[in-house]
Structure formats: structure tokens, C-alpha cells
Symmetry: C2
Subunit: 145 residues, 2 copies
């Protein structure tokens, strides 16, 4: 599935929180298996990102019809998407916010990145198929992590 | 304070989740008052964003030393920051995730935006003072909200 709403929650261990609607096929799978992979696409995949968001795994094999490649993960049964520049293997760390908010708290147990992609141009959903594409990077002196 | 980690959680009512570290002066204020304003800056304010992140309200008046302007909010006692292009007045809707994750679930009860800013160039913290500046907008046909 395509997922928009997520946030980092902790550095160590790395914790990510995300909303997976209970209308999504993924919702019950994630609740049952307590595992998933978050695959991070770049702008080259934007069309497929939207297509995946508008189709359901209940009805179609999205890997096949959208031409995506599955590769085995190392720690979870869900596959990586090869075309994505980063992949985060996750386990559900806390499901207390699922019933009320569809909010899953995930621990990232293994991360993959394509080191050849120096400036991945990520996409950021603004709603209704409108995305902001990552622009330039700026560096400021900071004591922040 | 400067805050990085946040996500939308619901459209209606509008719910935002965010991490406010318990090392921040803001943490106890937010817990006690159950109110805040999220002020969304653009790249023109990047230097002040970092400065605010590296200083504490325990020691300094950030409005004064960084040249920011406070304006009254309509629903909460915390002020708006005039220089920010959008301001979200919030009430804490759920504090159950605060003890373990410093994660506050907020309902946005009033939003302000500067309508003259057509293409606000937001900044997105990548860590250690490095920010991605919002790039171009792309529009794809979608059935997504």
C-alpha cells in the first residue's frame, strides 16, 4: 500500500509511527503478522506510488501489474521493493493506538539503502495526488541531532 | 521550541501527532496547559528555526532575542508567531503516549494561513542542522484524499 502519514519517534532504537487506515488490505495483515517493510520511493516512481494507492491487494497483485520487483527481507517475511531507494524492515512495537487512530508504532530492525543514490528526490504527499518533490539541501550550524 | 517529528493522523477532526522531548522546556508546559500553537516556518526563517532549537525558554526570551513577533491566538493562550506562514492552534486530545514516547496527540482547533504566500518553501529536518527545502509541486491523477 501507499502510506503518507508517518513520523520518526525515537533514534535509538529507531521507532517510526504511521497511520494505516483500517480500510486498507494492509491493516489486518499488519495487525496479524506484526511485521512490515516501509519502502521509500523517489520521484521517478511517483506514478506507481499513486497507482498503488488507488488499487487494493484484495483484488490485484500490485507487484505484477505495476512492474515492481520483490526481494526477500532479512528479518521479516514481507518483501522489499527493489525499485525503492531505501527499505526499512519493521516490527510492530506498540499497538495501543491502533484501535482509536489506526496508528502503528514500529521498530525499525533492519535498514537498506542504495548507496549509489546520492541525492534521492523523495516525494511528499500534500493531498489529492499533489506531491512536493524534495528540493535542495541546506546546512546550518546546529547542536541539534 | 523547534519541533521536527510530527505527522497528520486524521482529517476530520484534524489530528496531528508530534514528539516533544521531555528535555524541552515546552514539555511540561504542554502537559500542564494542554494547549499549544504549531507555527510552520519557511526557508527564509531557517536560521531562526535552528537558533530556537539550540536555545531554551528556561534561559532566554526567544521572541526577543531572535526577533520574532507574537500575536494572540483565538482559542488558546499560547501565541502565534507572525513570521510563520501558517499557525495551528491545538489542544492535547490524547496524552496516553506521552509517558513512553513523548508523543502528544493534538487536535487542531483553529488554523491560520498567510494567503499571500502562494508557494511557501517549507523546510524539512534531516538531522544535525541539515534541511531539505521544499522543491517543485507535481500533480498526478489520483483518487486519494
Amino acid at each position: 500500500m501507499t502510506m503518507s502519514w508517518h513520523t520518526m519517534m525515537e533514534f535509538e532504537p529507531p521507532i517510526v509511527g504511521c497511520v494505516v487506515s483500517n480500510r486498507n488490505f494492509t491493516f489486518n495483515i499488519l495487525k496479524a503478522t506484526k511485521e512490515c517493510v516501509i519502502n521509500i520511493p523517489t520521484v521517478e516512481l511517483a506514478g506507481k506510488v499513486v497507482s498503488c494507492g488507488n488499487a487494493s491487494g484484495r483484488e490485484v497483485d500490485k507487484f505484477r501489474i505495476f512492474g515492481l520487483t520483490a526481494a526477500p527481507a532479512s528479518q521479516v517475511k514481507a518483501p522489499l521493493i527493489v525499485e525503492c531507494y531505501a527499505n526499512l524492515e519493521c516490527r510492530v512495537a506498540d499497538a495501543r493506538m491502533v484501535a482509536k487512530y489506526n496508528f502503528f508504532i514500529l521498530e525499525v530492525i533492519k535498514g537498506w539503502i542504495d548507496p549509489s543514490r546520492k541525492q534521492p528526490r523523495t516525494i511528499h504527499h500534500k493531498g489529492k495526488g499533489v506531491f512536493m518533490v524534495a528540493g535542495k539541501t541546506i546546512r546550518l550550524r546546529s547542536r541539534m541531532k
